[in-house]
């Protein structure tokens, strides 16, 4: 019998971050996975980052997680999305070489302190006195720990559909996983069903690359980790081609044979990732859709055709793909499919991702209804930090909508639940102007340091950077320029005749770091990236002040906690509908209650006044 502080079940992106984070906080951690080869596997599109997602990766990195470093090691096509737009909505993204990604993650985990990788199949949870005590494996062994993080992805009743074929996914059907599944059903708030799809994989050798467009990597690549200085692997281009009328005709003629549309699938799919069948039906007036041909690695013949996910029968997939320019003779390595799976309603979790129903059990990743590696990894990080906290008696790691995209996601999941596979967008973050990918370290590394999950190398690099920025900020604020000098340099700034500081000038939309360098050449000794960073924060300075006021209101609402044993039936004046919704979502605080679908200001006033009245009664009787 083995004893650990924390056990992590599953070695996907959530499991890896969870185990690594728990280890960083000092917990003796076991990562139990069916095979060590599963670590760092990218089961869908081989890319990391993007809009919103890139923010999550930067935040994971700021807390010294794995994903950013792995992506930078494996990146073969770095592109900064929204480069021409404001820094708050830029998102770093890279195509990743699958093999490099896996090898980095495996190596990183093997070297991680206090983390033991155990190859075994978990068949059941060990529960003693209403709290978790460990797990049981297929060979009858018990591994004990006071906290368990379950990151089992789509294994719960996963089913793959290709046309009218139905194939059990993962370890479905094995007696063992059924036991684990029924255990989860016992504690689940509710179980929902989701679906998602993937395109066929193509052989690169059979694509006529000369006939299609190219999308090159950025000349000036932006990394995902704050610790990386440049790409580690050779950079390549992706191909771009399009569907056409003939493609659409073939798909339309076979729509009834698509698993997604045949009625075989009951799960809800994501609106932002429609199958090609959905695309041509819902947007019938569009004559063509882009298809990005993304190589899965430097030494890999596999190409991922991004944009044509499908669950049509095999021969139809082949037929419609071959109508596309460049794919006339394409060979399919693996057919596209739809996958349907159960998820655990995340409203059954606290903000630590611990189950409300079973003390010591944490859930993270796709099992909570999210999609995407980045979303899974960020949850894994939160669950790992908090599992260690529970096991070792440390502070909980709580994130707020006001401090991070991680906080936005955790709050969305635990207070609203999931209606479709949950993906991060920048528009979900109401404090978007402050929660930028460029300042993720400034926002979160101090939190990580106080939680004790940031290693020495990052701590040193972070503190050095902060010192440099502080010194530079002071220089920029101290150095003032006369209006006449501004005019000579062709800088138009609203003037009241007095001198302005260089920092002040940077807040203007028409002034950038190059202008500042022209005005004061001694600043050339400062790293260009530091100047650029100060420009980024200066751009938003006036708006961030406004957001800070809203953030303060949010924190006030977050501080109005709702007792777990509140009886909504005793609050008069609530509509039955809202009463039912409050009972279902069990908000932890007013900030969460406010966001319940259909919530009215009047009902919030009722709730707040009820809580205040309750507090007053309590004080009187005390």
């Amino acid at each position: 019998m083995k004893q650990f502080d924390v056990i992590v079940i599953g070695g996907g992106h959530a499991g890896v971050e969870a185990a690594h984070a728990a280890g960083r906080r000092g917990a003796r951690t076991a990562l139990v996975t069916f095979s060590a080869c599963d670590l760092g596997v990218m089961s869908c599109n081989p890319a990391i980052g993007g809009l919103g997602k890139g923010h999550l990766v930067r935040e994971i990195d700021a807390l010294d997680g794995v994903m950013g470093l792995a992506a930078d090691f494996a990146g073969i096509q770095f592109r900064l999305l929204n480069r021409s737009r404001g820094p708050a909505v830029q998102g770093p993204r890279t195509q990743a070489d699958r093999a490099r990604y896996r090898s980095f993650v495996l190596g990183h985990m093997q070297q991680a302190e206090r983390v033991t990788i155990i190859e075994a199949e978990v068949t059941d949870l060990v529960v003693e006195a209403d709290r978790i005590a460990g797990v049981e494996t297929a060979d009858g062994q018990r591994i004990l720990a006071s906290a368990v993080v379950l990151t089992s992805g789509t294994f719960l009743r996963g089913e793959i559909h290709i046309g009218d074929e139905r194939i059990p996914a993962g370890r479905q059907g094995a007696r063992s996983s059924l036991r684990l599944a029924s255990r989860l059903e016992e504690i689940a708030h509710s179980i929902g069903r989701l679906k998602t799809g993937t395109p066929a994989r193509l052989s690169a050798q059979t694509i006529d690359w000369a006939r299609i467009g190219r999308q090159a990597a950025d000349a000036d690549p932006v990394m995902l980790s704050f610790l990386s200085s440049g790409p580690a692997a050779r950079q390549i281009a992706c191909g771009v081609t399009q569907t056409n009328r003939q493609t659409h005709e073939i798909i339309a003629a076979n729509l009834h044979r698509s698993a997604m549309r045949s009625g075989n699938i009951s799960g809800i799919g994501p609106r932002y990732c429609p199958s090609v069948e959905d695309k041509i039906t819902r947007f019938a007036d569009k004559e063509s859709h882009n298809v990005f041909l993304e190589p899965e690695g430097l030494n890999d013949d596999t190409v991922y055709p991004n944009g044509v996910s499908t669950s049509l029968p095999r021969e139809v997939q082949e037929a419609f793909l071959r109508t596309i320019v460049g794919l006339e003779d394409v060979r399919i390595l693996q057919y596209g499919y739809a996958i349907e799976y159960d998820f655990h309603d995340p409203r059954g979790l606290f903000k630590t991702l611990q189950s409300r129903a079973l003390t010591g059990l944490f859930l993270a990743g796709q099992i909570n209804g999210t999609t995407g590696y980045e979303e899974a990894a960020a949850q894994g990080l939160v669950a790992g930090l908090n599992a260690a906290a529970l096991a070792l008696g440390l502070d909980e790691a709580l994130f707020s909508r006001a401090d991070s995209y991680i906080g936005v996601m955790i709050d969305d999941l635990t207070s609203r639940g999931v209606q479709e596979p949950y993906r991060m967008f920048t528009s979900r973050a109401e404090f978007r102007l402050s929660l930028r990918m460029d300042n993720a370290d400034q926002r979160l590394t101090p939190i990580g340091l106080s939680l004790g999950c940031v290693g020495q190398r990052r701590e040193r690099a972070f503190l050095e950077k902060m010192n440099r920025l502080d010194a530079l900020r002071i220089r920029l604020k101290d150095h003032t320029v006369a209006p006449a000098v501004l005019q000579e340099n062709g800088i138009t700034a609203p003037s009241n005749g007095s001198r302005r500081s260089l920092y002040d000038l940077l807040t203007l939309s028409g002034v950038d770091e190059h202008d500042v360098l022209r005005l004061e050449s001694s600043l050339r000794d400062a790293p260009a990236e530091d100047l650029a960073q100060i420009k980024r924060e200066a751009v938003y300075a006036p708006y961030v002040a406004r957001q800070n006021a809203d953030a303060a209101m949010l924190r006030r609402d977050e501080s109005l906690t709702i007792p777990a044993d509140i009886s909504y039936d005793t609050i008069p004046g609530l509509s039955n509908e809202l009463r039912a919704k409050l009972k279902a979502s069990r908000p932890d605080d007013i900030a969460q209650a406010v966001k319940i679908d259909g919530m009215t200001p009047a009902a919030i006033v009722l709730l707040v006044s009820w809580l205040r009245r309750g507090a007053a009664v309590h004080e009187r009787s005390a």
Partner: protein
């Protein structure tokens, strides 16, 4: 919670007065005063008695059970004769019952709100409805109560939501197949909504006038018959609702109702050159009041007088027309008074028609903020795509300003718009 009691109808002598009691002890009060508790929601004629058994009055008693009353609590209403003496005695008697106290201002409404019987906008509209003295005031209050204001704000939110959705699509899905000309759809709704909000803010003065009453000043030299005219207007064709002496001894106000519009007539001190310091002050104050009034009626002492009108809308009349045998007005004979009344009504009605559907300071505060944010959004839009997220932030701030009036915006609303409008997903 305490049981509360108050006079629910207007103070002063009236045909009928309603005394309302709400709270846990309401039925105890009913039994003590009326001798028994009649069936709910069934007006019953009862003899109302004091503790000694002496009759206070005979009146209708109306009982509402908890959950079916205005406040959500048990409620009893006594409809008595509207004599101040009877009302005072009845309330005094009720207050003797343990657990009962006098209601604070607006407390019935607040309890109704706390019980979820009415929404916040309704509370505010209702407060005005209860205060409404005239038909026009009632209509304005009714507009808010009905949710006209809420519906309007809802329409604006819808327009702003559309604008935000277009921007967010351009930001969050820039690597997807979305049209290049999305920004074309951002500016028009912003401008439309901003203009509409500005119009509502501009209509505020008229709204306030409907709430507080229009001021019409009668101006003229001494002895031009201003007071006679005031008395004639007040006494003959208008209903006096209240009469108060002005803050100075020489500005007299009379509140009256002209075709449903609440009007305060102001009689100012006669204008003349004088060495009397006190009279000078009076004249100066009269001038200031007249100048601040919504409308002025100038009385000319003779057909040859020249009057400098404050505004084109002001009315100039020859006074004591009976003496001059000319068209004009006479407070004494009543000649010209109907024409004057309809002249005042016509002018004020024009102004009232531009009134805002909003009535509360809280609402205008939010509207002003929304207007500022939309101005900022339009300015940021001119700076190009580098500032799109700032435009979005400004529009969201504007929407949040409107939230207090109607409810909340949700990111899911924005995403829903995006996904139903564009083919997202490579």
């Amino acid at each position: 919670m305490d049981t509360i009691v108050a006079l629910a109808t207007a103070r002063g002598r009236a045909g009928v007065a309603v005394v309302r009691v709400s709270g846990a002890e309401a039925m105890t009060v009913c039994a003590a005063i009326a001798g028994s508790v009649p069936p709910p929601r069934c007006a019953t004629l009862c003899r109302l008695r004091d503790r000694q058994g002496d009759t206070l009055d005979q009146g209708l008693v109306l009982v509402f059970e908890a959950g079916k009353s205005f406040t959500g609590e048990p409620v009893v209403e006594f409809q008595t004769h509207g004599s101040p003496a009877i009302i005072a005695a009845l309330i005094r008697e009720i207050l003797e019952i343990p657990g009962v106290r006098a209601a604070e201002a607006g407390e019935f409404t607040r309890r109704a709100f706390d019980a979820g019987r009415i929404s916040l906008t309704e509370v505010e509209g209702l407060a005005d409805l209860l205060e409404a003295e005239t038909e026009a005031q009632r209509k304005l209050a009714q507009k808010v109560f009905d949710g006209t204001a809420a519906r309007l704000a809802e329409t604006w939110r819808d327009g702003l939501l559309q604008a935000v959705a277009m921007l967010e699509a351009a930001i969050d899905f820039s690597d997807e197949e979305i049209p290049d000309d999305l920004l074309r759809h951002v500016r028009p709704p912003l401008e439309t909504v901003k203009d509409a909000i500005s119009r509502q803010i501009a209509g505020r003065q008229a709204s306030e006038r409907i709430r507080e009453g229009f001021e019409v000043a009668i101006v003229g030299a001494v002895n031009t018959g201003k007071s006679t005219l005031l008395n004639a207007l007040a006494g003959r064709d208008a209903a006096i609702t209240s009469e108060t002496a002005g803050t100075t001894r020489d500005v007299i106000e009379v509140r009256m109702d002209i075709s449903g519009l609440p009007v305060t007539l102001i009689d100012t001190a006669g204008l003349r050159e004088t060495a009397d310091e006190v009279e000078q002050i009076g004249i100066a104050r009269g001038r200031a009041r007249a100048s601040a009034a919504d409308l002025r009626v100038y009385l000319m002492a003779s057909p040859n007088d020249v009057v400098a009108r404050e505004s084109q809308d002001d009315i100039v009349l020859l006074s004591k027309a009976d003496l001059w045998n000319c068209p004009g007005i006479s407070g004494k004979s009543g000649a010209g008074i109907p024409a004057l009344l309809s002249g005042i009504e016509e002018r004020l009605a024009t102004r009232a028609s531009g009134s805002s559907v909003f009535s509360r300071e809280r609402h205008f505060d939010k509207l002003r903020r929304a207007e500022v944010h939309l101005g900022a959004a339009l300015a940021a839009l001119d700076r190009g795509e580098f500032g799109w997220e700032i435009v979005s932030d400004d529009i969201r701030a504007a929407i949040r300003s409107l939230d207090g009036i109607i409810g909340r915006i949700d990111v899911e609303d924005v995403l829903g718009r995006i996904f139903s409008s564009f083919c997202i997903g490579k």
